[in-house]
Amino acid sequence: MTLLAASPGSSTDVLAVANMPLLWASALGVFLVIIVQTIIYMRAARRAGPDIGMSRDDLSVAFRSGAVAAIGPSVAVVIVALSLLALFGTPGVLVRIGLIGSVAYETGAASIATGAAGAELGGPDYTQTAFAIAFFAMSVGGAMWMLATLIFTPVLQRSEKKLTRVNPLLLTIVPGAALIAAFLSLGIAEVPKSVAHTTALLCGGAVMGLAAFLAVRLRRSWIREWGLGAAILLGLVAAYFADQAGLGLGIV
């Protein structure tokens, strides 16, 4: 192995690695696991239904209203996922953004991990190696949520009543503050990169805020669902023009 430009993983053709067949197999494997789980759960619900006073119709209504309620959010997730294909490739986006995780945590984890590797997520130094580190960190981070669920669910089942005695501040305000701090910090870290980065950040934030305001004002909750996708797309459009005006990395 040499330290020349040909050293492994120094190519910035991230998608060549991100769309490898094995990653596709792993992504489709997660689809399969969720399908199996869904089938087992539906059968279990059908068996339990009559004895707890839920008819087949009730169960169908539950299934259907869950499905219908998911249409808007699912399409919204699709748009967000499409905008991240260039960073993580299709299999990575399917599993990390579409399934297990969410755009916020996964992009956050990827940005922090590439930063730890001395690169910038999506920057000129975002190499195949940087992608591998980011994808690994996102996946292990997601695994931590699953692990916490596996450990805590049985514990909570046994101690449900005790939970109500925990200081409510601990369960609401503290994690809320942690989330705000994480994403404000990640966002502000984008500011020194260029004016175009700052434009994308501010435009994304402004559109999201506007969507939330309109959703409340016009009493249309679907506006909120679409807010994230719209914010990302309009943030990108704003960044495109800022870049064109010579305020960014000089791509356009």
């Binding site: 993983g9 690695v17 990653l23 997660v30 969720i34 399908i35 789980q37 759960y41 279990a44 619900a45 004895d51 707890i52 209504v61 539950a62 209203s65 869950g66 309620a69 699912s74 997730v77 996922a81 294909l85 399934l99 995780g101 969410s102 992009t107 956050g108 922090i112 991990a113 920057g123 190696t129 591998a132 580190i133 994808f135 690994f136 981070g141 669910t153 909570l156 089942q157 609401t172 305000i173 994690p175 809320g176 503050a177 705000i180 701090a181 994480a182 994403f183 404000l184 910090s185 966002g187 984008e190 175009a196 950040l201 501010l202 999201m208 994230l228 914010a231 990302i232 943030g235 990108l236």
Partner: protein
């Protein structure tokens, strides 16, 4: 709705089945989802070092470990044990699964936390999962991959370079709106500005820990500066 008391046996059986299957499928999902990235870092010869992975993981854990611990505890009362194993594998809990479960519970007039509430939440999440899997597979898996081949290189470069700040801007505002409390927002904003624009430029080695530092400092300050009087506290918890 009928109001017959729920015999424990049926619900116990539902609980046992979903517990066993839920845990097994979640462990399977965990392993399968890790197999891809593990292969990449172990066998794909990309020059990834163990040190780089540990550093990256430590930086991510520093930021999110509180959320890893708190989120399952927060969602448990609404979802119930069965739906927990669904929710944390299907993902997008707060923006998709939770609304689906709540809408179904409202439609049927059942309460969260009751046997009917739990079964309803599980069925609703099954419905949401089907819609979600199909739309992801078609629009991202198939059409998205095709779209990538059509997109001009310039547009791809713009997206790659600027999608990250666009996401963080939107998500930060989303987090602020969901908390709806001025105090933690001001604390977090002050801390983030100081850390990212004063501390990081001064001590460049801290850059990758910066967000972790922000999170921990904000949590400590929010706790220390919390409203002390009882009425305000209850108000704050709503």
């Amino acid at each position: 709705m009928t109001t017959s008391p729920a015999p424990l046996t049926a619900m116990e059986q539902f609980g046992a089945t979903t517990n066993r299957a839920g845990r097994l499928t979640m462990i399977a999902g965990l392993i399968v989802s890790l197999s891809g990235p593990l292969y990449l870092v172990l066998f794909a010869d990309l020059g990834v070092t163990a040190t780089a992975l540990w550093t990256a993981f430590a930086a991510v854990a520093g930021t999110f470990f509180i959320i890893w611990l708190v989120e399952p505890v927060t969602y448990y009362p609404i979802l119930g044990p069965a739906a927990m194993y669904q929710a944390f594998m299907i993902g997008n809990i707060s923006n998709k699964l939770l609304p689906s479960a709540v809408v179904a519970q409202e439609t049927l007039g059942v309460r969260a936390g009751t046997p009917k509430g739990s079964v309803t939440a599980s069925m609703a999440i099954c419905g949401a999962a089907v819609v979600h899997l199909v739309s992801l597979f078609i629009f991202v898996g198939v059409l998205g991959t095709w779209l990538l081949t059509l997109t001009p290189e310039t547009v791809m470069d713009v997206v790659r370079s600027y999608v990250v700040p666009a996401v963080f801007g939107a998500v930060a505002v989303q987090a602020i709106i969901s908390v709806r409390k001025l105090r933690p927002v001001l604390i977090a904003l002050g801390v983030a500005l100081v850390v990212q624009l004063v501390l990081v430029p001064a001590v460049a080695q801290l850059a990758f820990l910066a967000t972790g530092i922000c999170v921990i400092a904000t949590i400590i300050l929010t706790w220390v500066l919390r409203p002390r009087d009882r009425a305000k506290l209850e108000n704050a918890a709503v």
